[in-house]
């Protein structure tokens, strides 16, 4: 009886916070995910078209530089997703909201994927440009350590069967990692640096042609849209799995089977 009242209250609520309830977020994520995926597809095609056909050939690096249209957005996303993950982990620990932990867990595989893509494309770019696939340079090394942090988070949350403990343990390691990320970044920077300086910064004019910049920004937006789409889908699966004993999931699955 009590749960029924709670369900009614949530459904009638006008506050945006009602979407913190997995039951309310599930349909919302389902509505947004296909749109995000469509946006991601359109922007990827547009960005790659700008990158491969519109942007001029670089004076020094030739056509090799075109890998940045994938490399740079992937590197941006991999770092940003870790921060978002740590943010949701902190929200989850402080406010004790189940959905926050699910968001953190849904973000981790995508972050690790972008991290790997950034390392891989960087290696492919390094071979013709630096003459080697890998150097122990500050940025490369901190990116590699970021990948290890992602893998550690994923391994820890997967190793714990109890969902509540997995959520909280994962949140703590995500936060410890977030405190350590700047320390790792600066320590490896002092240790060794060879990577070319950032080509895009907020404080000065970018040192590249505008077509290149546009291609990169469009690709970055595509990466954002893709992340939203995938995370919404993944969080929907997590919600169904975690809430499988509730009435609304039963009704949802029954409706789904009716349609199929």
């Amino acid at each position: 009886m009590k749960t029924a009242n709670f369900d009614d209250r949530i459904k009638r609520s006008k506050s945006l916070l009602r979407f913190a309830a997995p039951q309310m977020f599930y349909p919302l994520a389902g509505t947004f995910a296909p749109w995000c995926l469509a946006v991601a597809a359109v922007l990827t095609v547009l960005g790659l078209w700008i990158g491969f056909f519109v942007a001029p050939t670089d004076a020094q690096q030739g056509d090799v530089y075109r890998v940045i249209f994938i490399h740079v957005p992937a590197a941006w996303m991999s770092m940003f997703i870790y921060l978002v993950m740590a943010f949701w982990a902190a929200v989850g620990l402080v406010l004790n909201t189940r959905l926050s932990f699910m968001m953190a867990q849904a973000l981790a595989p995508t972050g690790a994927m972008f991290c790997f893509v950034a390392l891989w494309t960087g290696a492919l770019w390094g071979r013709p440009t630096w003459g080697t696939y890998w150097v122990w340079d500050a940025r490369l090394t901190s990116q590699l350590l970021l990948l290890f942090l992602y893998l550690g988070y994923i391994a820890l949350t997967q190793a714990i069967d109890d969902a509540r403990r997995a959520d909280r343990a994962g949140a703590i390691i995500a936060l410890v990692g977030a405190v350590n990320v700047p320390i790792i970044y600066f320590s490896v920077q002092w240790w060794n640096t060879l990577h070319q300086g950032a080509s895009v910064s907020l404080t000065r004019a970018p040192s590249m042609a505008s077509a290149m910049l546009w291609g990169m920004l469009v690709m970055a937006l595509a990466a954002w849209a893709y992340t939203f789409a995938v995370v919404f889908w993944r969080v929907r699966s997590l919600i169904l799995e975690r809430e499988r004993h509730t009435e609304w999931v039963g009704a949802e699955l029954a409706a789904h089977e009716g349609r199929a």
Partner: protein, 222 residues
């Protein structure tokens, strides 16, 4: 306030003393790993001298990792940990005491043995002091960070490997500054900057790690 701190520390040290062999295994591991490197990279003296700080530091890091699971495992198995968590004393305080005792038992012997091992690599006697100091400042950081990982992986299947995956990336800055201190002393720029950063890191870890560790233990014992 400090009563429970010393009580827990005394208890852990006493337990470690009763099982001395366990402690010596960590030390033996450290010595053997260090001695393996000349077989792997060749016994050329200049090369050995160049890699000595890194080798000693990596070996110290691995032996710390090897002993970490013992930090809470026994107390977890016999229920002591649960009783400690139920006690009214602040968790971070006795956690810090346990970590301190653990470091005295596993970290301090490494610090004391390291200069002797460095002589095997023909490291100049002038930098032995810096090497010892860097290990003395750095190995407690390893113990503090590792304790968080040990608390998170308490009682999990495959806990040991998982622990390595969790804490090794976090150890990297300590490794860089620790081995860097010796290198810069050898290079003539002086080790002060590296040692100060290690000291700062140690203070930061003492301030933050016990609380993260306490939270992790509560989650593990729920």
């Amino acid at each position: 306030m400090l009563g429970p701190f010393f009580a827990v520390m005394r208890r852990d040290l006493l337990l470690a003393w009763r099982g001395r062999a366990d402690v010596l295994v960590t030390l033996a591991f450290f010595v053997i790993v260090v001695c393996l490197f000349p077989f792997g990279v060749g016994a050329e003296t200049n090369q050995l001298r160049a890699i000595a700080p890194g080798v000693l530091w990596v070996a110290a890091l691995l032996s710390t990792l090897l002993s970490l699971h013992r930090l809470f495992a026994q107390d977890h198995a016999d229920g002591t940990l649960e009783q400690l968590l139920l006690s009214p004393e602040p968790t971070a305080l006795w956690v810090l005491a346990k970590i301190a005792a653990h470091w005295i038992v596993t970290g301090l012997p490494l610090v004391l043995v390291a200069p002797g091992l460095a002589l095997l690599f023909d490291v100049g006697q002038g930098v032995l002091g810096v090497l010892t100091l860097s290990l003395a400042l750095g190995s407690p950081i390893l113990a503090l960070l590792g304790a968080v990982g040990a608390a998170l992986t308490l009682g999990l299947r495959g806990g040991g490997v998982l622990l390595a995956l969790l804490v090794l990336p976090l150890f990297v800055p300590v490794l860089i500054f620790g081995a860097g201190a010796v290198d810069s002393e050898l290079g003539g720029t002086g080790a002060a900057a590296h040692l100060l950063l290690l000291g700062g890191g140690l203070l930061g870890a003492i301030a933050l790690a016990p609380f993260a560790c306490a939270a992790a233990l509560r989650i593990a014992m729920e």
